[in-house]
C-alpha cells in the first residue's frame, strides 16, 4: 500500500499533469529558481557597475569644469579693469551652447556686466567652486537650475563671478540609463528564457526517465534510461543507472532460473516420496513392508529439506553482516581439524588426504564459516577423486596474502565450467549421478565473499581451488 502511494505521488510530482495549481511546471523547478537568483544577482551587479561609471564620469567632468572656471576667473581677474568687461563679453559670446555664466558686480552688489542678475547669496567670495541655484531666462520661459560657480572679491571692491552649467551630468545619466535599458533588460529576459529552457529540458528528461522507470517497474526489464554523451552529468548518471539495471536484469534472470532449478530439485524427491507412500498404502500387506515404504519417503523428504536448509543458509550468509563478530582464526589449526574430520572418509575411499601446513597463519574471520568453506572444498575434492588418488590441503603465504589451497587428482574443473560451477544447483554432467545438493561451491563462494576473500579456481591437472585472504 505504502509503496504504491509513494510511487503515484512521485509520478504526479514528476509529470505535473495533476498539479492543482495549474502553474507552469518549470516555474517551480529548482533550475528555474536558480536561474532567477543568478539573474537577480547579475542585475544588481550591473546596476551597481553602471552607477559607479556614472558617478566617476560625473565626478571627473565636474572636476574638469571646476578647474576650467577657476582658470577663467584667474585669467579675467588678472586683466586690467576695462579689459575685464571685454573679456566677460567675449567669454559669453564664444559660448554657443549658453552654458557659460560670467558677471561683475559692484561693491554695492549692482551688476556692472555679464549675464547674471545678482550676486548669488550662497556664493562666498573666497575662490571656492560651489553649486549655485539660478533662474535662467530662456525663450520658452524661466527655468530654475543649478550651476557651478566661483567668485572673487577684486581689489577695487568689485566681485567677479564665473559659472558654468554642468548639464553634461544629466546627459550622462540619460546615456547610462539608456544603456542600462538596452543592455540589462534584454539580458535579464535572455537569462529568464535560458532558465526556463534549461528547466523545461531537465523536466522533460526527468519525465522521460520517469516514463521509462515506470515501464521497468511494470516489468519491462529490458528498458534503459536515455543518454547522449558521457561528459554530461545527466547522461553519466543514466549510464551508471543503466549499468545497475544490466546487473539487476542478469540477476533477476538468474534468479528465475534458480527458481526453476529449485522447483525441479525439490519436486524430484517429493515425487518419489509421494509415489512410495501411495504405492505402499495400497500394496503393503505387513507392517514391515509399510515401514520400508515410509523410510523411503522420509529419506526423500529429508533430501528436500536439506535443499531448503542449504538455500536458507546460503541466503543467510549472503545477507549477513557478520563481520562485527569476526575474530582471529588460526588457519593452521583449522585446516588440521578439517583434515582430521575427513581423513577416515578419504581412507575409506582409498584416497590419500594430506595436510601441508608448515606456517602458523591467522586471518580475521568467522571460524565456523571458514571451517565450513574449507570442509566443503575438501568434501568435494574427496568425492571427485578416483580411488588411489590424493587430496592436498595447503596453507601458504603469497604477496601480502594468505592462501588456503585444496588440490586433488580428480577430473578438475574445465575452463568452460569454471563460472558455471558457482551457479546454484549446477552439477557437471560428468557427476550428475553423484549425490549432493549442488550448492556446496555457492556456499563456499558466499562465505569467501563475506570475508572479503577471493575464491580462485585454478587450471588443472586435477582440481585446484584456492581461498585467497588478502592482508588487511
Amino acid at each position: 500500500m505504502a509503496g504504491s502511494n509513494a510511487s503515484s505521488l512521485t509520478s504526479s510530482r514528476l509529470s505535473g499533469r495533476r498539479d492543482p495549481m495549474l502553474q507552469p511546471q518549470f516555474i517551480r523547478s529548482s533550475t528555474f529558481h536558480w536561474t532567477l537568483a543568478v539573474a537577480g544577482v547579475l542585475a544588481v551587479f550591473v546596476i551597481g557597475l553602471f552607477g559607479f561609471i556614472y558617478w566617476s564620469v560625473d565626478n571627473y567632468l565636474i572636476t574638469r569644469s571646476d578647474t576650467m572656471i577657476a582658470r577663467q576667473l584667474d585669467f579675467i581677474a588678472g586683466l586690467p579693469g576695462e579689459r575685464q568687461l571685454a573679456a566677460i563679453d567675449q567669454n559669453l559670446e564664444q559660448d554657443t551652447r549658453g552654458v557659460h555664466y560670467a558677471a561683475l558686480f559692484g561693491a554695492d552688489g549692482r551688476k556692472i556686466a555679464g549675464n547674471m542678475g545678482q550676486l548669488p547669496p550662497e556664493l562666498g567670495t573666497n575662490d571656492i567652486v560651489r553649486n549655485v541655484p539660478i533662474i535662467r531666462t530662456l525663450p520658452t520661459g524661466r527655468q530654475a537650475g543649478v550651476i557651478r560657480a566661483i567668485a572673487r572679491k577684486m581689489p577695487g571692491g568689485n566681485t567677479l563671478v564665473i559659472g558654468r552649467e554642468v548639464d553634461e551630468t544629466r546627459e550622462i545619466s540619460h546615456v547610462v540609463g539608456q544603456a542600462l535599458a538596452l543592455g540589462l533588460l534584454p539580458g535579464l529576459c535572455l537569462c529568464l528564457l535560458a532558465g526556463a529552457w534549461l528547466s523545461l529540458r531537465a523536466q522533460k528528461r526527468v519525465e522521460e526517465v520517469n516514463k521509462r522507470v515506470q515501464r521497468i517497474i511494470a516489468g519491462d526489464l529490458r528498458e534503459r534510461l536515455p543518454h547522449r554523451n558521457v561528459d554530461e552529468p545527466f547522461s553519466k548518471l543514466a549510464v551508471i543507472v543503466n549499468g545497475m539495471l544490466d546487473e539487476m536484469e542478469t540477476m533477476i534472470h538468474a534468479l528465475a532460473g534458480v527458481g526453476n532449478d529449485i522447483a525441479h530439485d525439490l519436486r524430484t524427491p517429493l515425487t518419489r516420496a509421494r509415489l512410495a507412500l501411495e504405492r505402499g498404502r495400497t500394496n503393503a500387506t505387513t507392517v514391515e513392508q509399510l515401514q520400508k515404504v515410509v523410510d523411503k519417503a522420509i529419506t526423500n523428504i529429508d533430501q528436500s529439506l536439506a535443499i531448503i536448509t542449504a538455500l536458507l543458509r546460503l541466503a543467510e550468509i549472503e545477507n549477513s553482516r557478520r563481520s562485527a563478530a569476526f575474530g582471529t582464526v588460526p588457519l593452521h589449526d583449522m585446516l588440521r581439524e578439517v583434515c582430521d574430520l575427513y581423513e577416515p572418509i578419504a581412507e575409506n575411499k582409498n584416497v590419500d588426504l594430506r595436510a601441508q601446513v608448515k606456517h602458523r597463519l591467522n586471518v580475521l574471520g568467522d571460524r565456523d564459516l571458514l571451517f565450513e568453506a574449507v570442509a566443503n572444498l575438501v568434501d568435494n575434492a574427496i568425492k571427485f577423486t578416483p580411488e588411489g588418488g590424493w587430496v592436498g590441503i595447503e596453507l601458504e603465504r603469497g604477496d601480502n596474502e594468505t592462501v588456503m589451497r585444496v588440490t586433488d587428482t580428480g577430473p578438475g574443473i574445465s575452463e568452460q565450467e569454471r563460472e558455471a560451477v558457482l551457479r546454484r544447483f549446477y552439477r557437471s554432467d560428468k557427476i550428475r549421478n553423484t549425490p549432493g545438493v549442488g550448492l556446496g561451491l555457492n556456499l563456499v563462494a558466499a562465505i569467501v565473499k563475506l570475508h572479503g576473500f577471493r575464491l580462485a579456481i585454478r587450471p588443472g591437472p586435477g582440481g585446484r581451488m584456492e581461498i585467497i585472504c588478502p592482508d588487511r
Binding site: D295, I298, L305, A306, T309, L312, R313, E316, S320, R322, E337, D340, L341, Y342, P344, I345, N348, D368, F371, E372, A375, N376, D379, K383, P435, G436, V437, G440
Partner: protein, 225 residues
C-alpha cells in the same frame, strides 16, 4: 515421572511432540502461548522445557530470559524455524541449553531432551568406566577388559563423549556439534565413517558389541545387547 513443559503455538506439531514424549514415558504439559507457558513453568516446576522461538503473546526467548531471572535453572531446548546461526547463538546466550531447528526428526528431539535431563555432572573422575570399557583421561589410554585399544586422538575424544553419555541415544548432529564443534550437518556421512572406525576398535571379533547403530537416529554406547 519426568515432567516436560512444551510451549509451542502450532497445535499439530505440539500434538506429535506430546504423543512421542508420552510414548517415551514423559509427562507432558502443553502451553500454546508464551504468557501461559511462563505461568506454567513457574507453577508446575517441570524437569525440562521445550520452547518455540516464535510465540504469540510473548517471544520464546523472553520466556526463557524471565525464567532465568527468577533463578529457574530448568534445562530448555529451543525450537526454531529460523535456522540462522546468529539466532542459534542468541538462543543459547539467552539461557537456552540446546537449540533445534525446524523441521526436525522426533528422534532428534527426544534424544536432545534426554541428553538435557541427564547432563553429566562435572566429575573429577580421571577414569571413565562403562562395562568392560575403561578410559584413562590422564594417560589417554583405553582398555576393554585386558585388551588395550589403540586410539587416535579424535577417536579418543569421541569415545570419551560417548562414555560420559552411555545408554543415551546420540544423534549425528549432536556428535558433530559436541565432538567436532561442527555446526552444520554435511551431506557426507562423516559421523558414520568415524563411528565405524571406532566401533571396529572397541568391538573386537567375538566380543559383545557395545556401540549400537540405531537406524535413522544415531548411536548408543551400552553394555547390554
Amino acid at each position: 515421572m519426568t515432567k516436560v513443559l512444551l510451549i509451542e503455538d502450532d497445535s499439530e506439531t505440539a500434538e506429535e511432540i506430546t504423543a512421542e514424549l508420552a510414548d517415551r514415558g514423559f509427562e507432558v504439559e502443553w502451553s500454546a502461548n508464551g504468557i501461559d507457558g511462563l505461568d506454567k513453568a513457574r507453577s508446575l516446576r517441570p524437569d525440562a522445557m521445550i520452547v518455540d522461538r516464535l510465540l504469540p503473546g510473548m517471544d520464546g526467548l523472553t520466556v526463557i530470559e524471565a525464567l532465568r531471572k527468577d533463578q529457574v535453572r530448568t534445562p530448555v531446548l529451543v525450537l526454531s524455524a529460523l535456522g540462522a546461526v546468529d539466532d542459534r547463538v542468541r538462543g543459547l546466550r539467552m539461557g537456552g541449553d540446546d537449540y533445534l531447528t525446524k523441521p526436525f526428526a522426533l528422534v532428534e528431539l527426544v534424544a536432545r531432551i534426554e541428553a538435557l535431563l541427564r547432563r553429566p555432572a562435572e566429575s573429577r573422575e580421571t577414569t571413565l568406566r562403562v562395562g568392560p570399557l575403561e578410559l584413562d583421561l590422564i594417560e589417554r589410554t583405553a582398555k576393554r577388559g585386558d585388551r588395550v585399544i589403540d586410539l587416535l586422538p579424535r577417536e579418543f575424544r569421541l569415545l570419551e563423549y560417548m562414555m560420559q553419555r552411555s545408554d543415551q541415544l546420540l544423534t549425528r548432529a549432536m556428535l558433530l556439534e559436541e565432538v567436532w564443534n561442527y555446526k552444520f550437518v554435511p551431506a557426507t556421512n562423516l559421523v558414520d565413517v568415524h563411528m565405524g572406525r571406532l566401533r571396529h576398535k572397541v568391538d573386537g571379533p567375538g566380543e559383545v558389541p557395545m556401540i549400537h547403530n540405531v537406524r535413522g537416529a544415531g548411536f548408543i554406547l551400552r553394555t547390554g545387547p
